[in-house]
Amino acid sequence: MTDLLQLIVAGTATGGCYALAALGFTLLWQASGTINFALGEMVMLPAFAMLFLLNVAGLPLPLAFLATCALAMAVLGAGFKRVVVDPLIRHGVVPLVIATLGLSIGVKQAVRGVASAEVFTFPSVFSDTLWNIGGLRVSAADIGTVLLACAVVAALQAFLSRTLTGRAMQAVAQNRDAARVLGINVQRMVLYAFLANALLATLAALLITPVYLAKFDMGETLGMKAFYAAIIGGFNNSRGALLGGVIVGVLENLVGAYISSGYKEGVALLLFLVVIIFRPQGLLGTVEERRV
């Protein structure tokens, strides 16, 4: 029984990281209809940027994180939107999917060229204490990750539904033309979504790299899990991303422990297939109309 609980706690923590990446994904989709296949690389790049600032520039971790956040917002947020998404978005989804696939390969191989194919360790923001709660051993990192992920989702929800800017972003997501008529600066709201995506990716990098370790291809599986989590939870719903991420994280752990470790990576896929066949809008999503 304690084994089971322990697996669930650890799975929830991993799921929280998936959820942060998935959240960025759903935000971009809602704001601009962008499908970002370079999502995993957008987690990998900040991880390497932080490592560089830590080891080469000698900054302490909090400072390195803040500097990377600023860098990510400029390059992965505004730069990505301006250079890749803006010219392509009017051609529809597929060219953008292909461009971001190309981007993902380019970024990955460039990092491999610069930093080699080695694996780098990454310091954890949490202490490595283990708590013993009634025979259940939980690490501070797991609890911290879960709490942080929940806090981020709650904060994002509050921002989107309570503040004027957040509501304007939602208006843009629901109906661009109506939002423009109401005097909302659509491009600015879309830009905010890209900035938020960059921030979420950097935060996911901070939390997951101590576990996953920094490697040029670390984004491959992470990106894929995040997509699946987003779709399972509901593509157009922020809470759905959290739910999807946690379900994937927990089930992966359980399947790995009790059924077959070899098929652990197939769990997200199987859930995804079940969801798209029986509930294509995702567990918490709402139906989107087919456009002619």
């Binding site: 597929v94 999917v97 070899g262």
Partner: protein
């Protein structure tokens, strides 16, 4: 007329090319043929029928593994080839069903997931696929008592197969089916309203594309003689899609050119391999922004401007 002459000259060059190459060069040319066959299939699914697919390497894997298993069991090559193609056709048909329910990006993830599943099965089911150790000693094909053991002979057989598959594809595209596929791509709702059975053609686009990858897989297994899960992973599917797009999706010679960019150039530029792939990735982004029709649309663009 000049078109046919150019085509004949191209074929003659491909036939004669191994004479001037060392063993590894012939191997690369053979690999190019394998990717062109698989690429033609993907071009049908993606370029002509407009269904995005990120699972072509999975079908290549199914073709290669089924061929390896059957050939080792002593089944003659001429029976293995259609059997593997048929198997991929059926699996492709099954994969087409999600395509009926979902579009664009969902389909991309569904096919990607399918590829991951094939990879996991190949890695985990040791009794069937040998797991990470793979399958060894896959024999070169024997047709009517003639064994294509020599690498140049095998290359010529592969080239002939590629040309036959290309001819079949050209015939298919000129038939009413080809026009139905294009209608499906350009405006599915309109296609449906003028009486095209979109369900049927969507499934066929997947199944035929998959069967081409199956044929390519059979030759791949015979070419390398040893298969493990690595060449059938998700990243290979992504390269194959980029190969079709780089050459020019929906253009007949697109995959042939795309395979040069993806298979041959990296080998010749080996000294810069990591950077070659990095530049290739960024070049794809630049191409989607400035030349979304692929390399083969360049002449049209230049003519259009002039």
């Amino acid at each position: 007329m000049t078109r046919w002459l150019a085509l004949a000259a191209g074929v003659a060059a491909l036939v004669a090319l191994p004479a001037g190459l060392k063993g590894y060069g012939v191997y690369l040319l053979s690999l190019w043929c394998v990717y062109v066959i698989a690429g033609m299939g993907l071009n049908l699914t993606v370029g002509y029928a407009g269904q995005i697919s990120l699972g072509q390497a999975g079908f290549l894997g199914i073709g290669a593994y089924s061929a390896a298993i059957l050939l080792q069991a002593g089944v003659p090559f001429l029976a293995v080839l259609p059997a593997s193609a048929l198997l991929c056709f059926v699996v492709g048909l099954l994969l087409g069903f999600p395509a009926l329910r979902v579009q664009h990006h969902y389909l991309a993830f569904a096919t990607l997931g399918f590829n991951m599943l094939v990879f996991l099965v190949a890695r985990n089911e040791q009794w069937l696929t040998g797991g990470t150790f793979g399958l060894n000693n896959i024999p070169r094909p024997m047709i009517l008592g003639w064994r294509f053991a020599n690498r140049v002979d095998f290359y010529h057989l592969l080239l002939a197969a590629m040309l036959a598959m290309a001819a079949l594809m050209a015939w298919l595209l000129r038939s009413p089916w080809g026009r139905a596929f294009a209608a499906l791509r350009d405006n599915p709702i309109r296609a449906e309203s003028v009486g095209i059975d979109t369900t049927f053609y969507t499934l066929m686009a997947f199944a035929i594309g998959a069967a081409y990858a199956g044929v390519a897989g059979v030759f791949f297994a015979c070419l390398v003689g040893f298969i493990d899960p690595a060449p059938f992973g998700v990243s290979i599917s992504l390269s194959m899609l980029l190969m079709v797009i780089a050459g020019g999706a929906g253009r007949f010679f697109g995959p042939a050119l795309g395979a040069v960019v993806v298979v041959l150039l990296p080998e010749w530029l080996r000294f810069a391999q990591d950077w070659y792939l990095a530049i290739f990735g960024f070049a794809i982004v630049a191409m989607m922004v400035w030349l979304p029709g692929g390399l083969l649309s360049l002449p049209d663009r230049v003519r259009g401007r002039a």
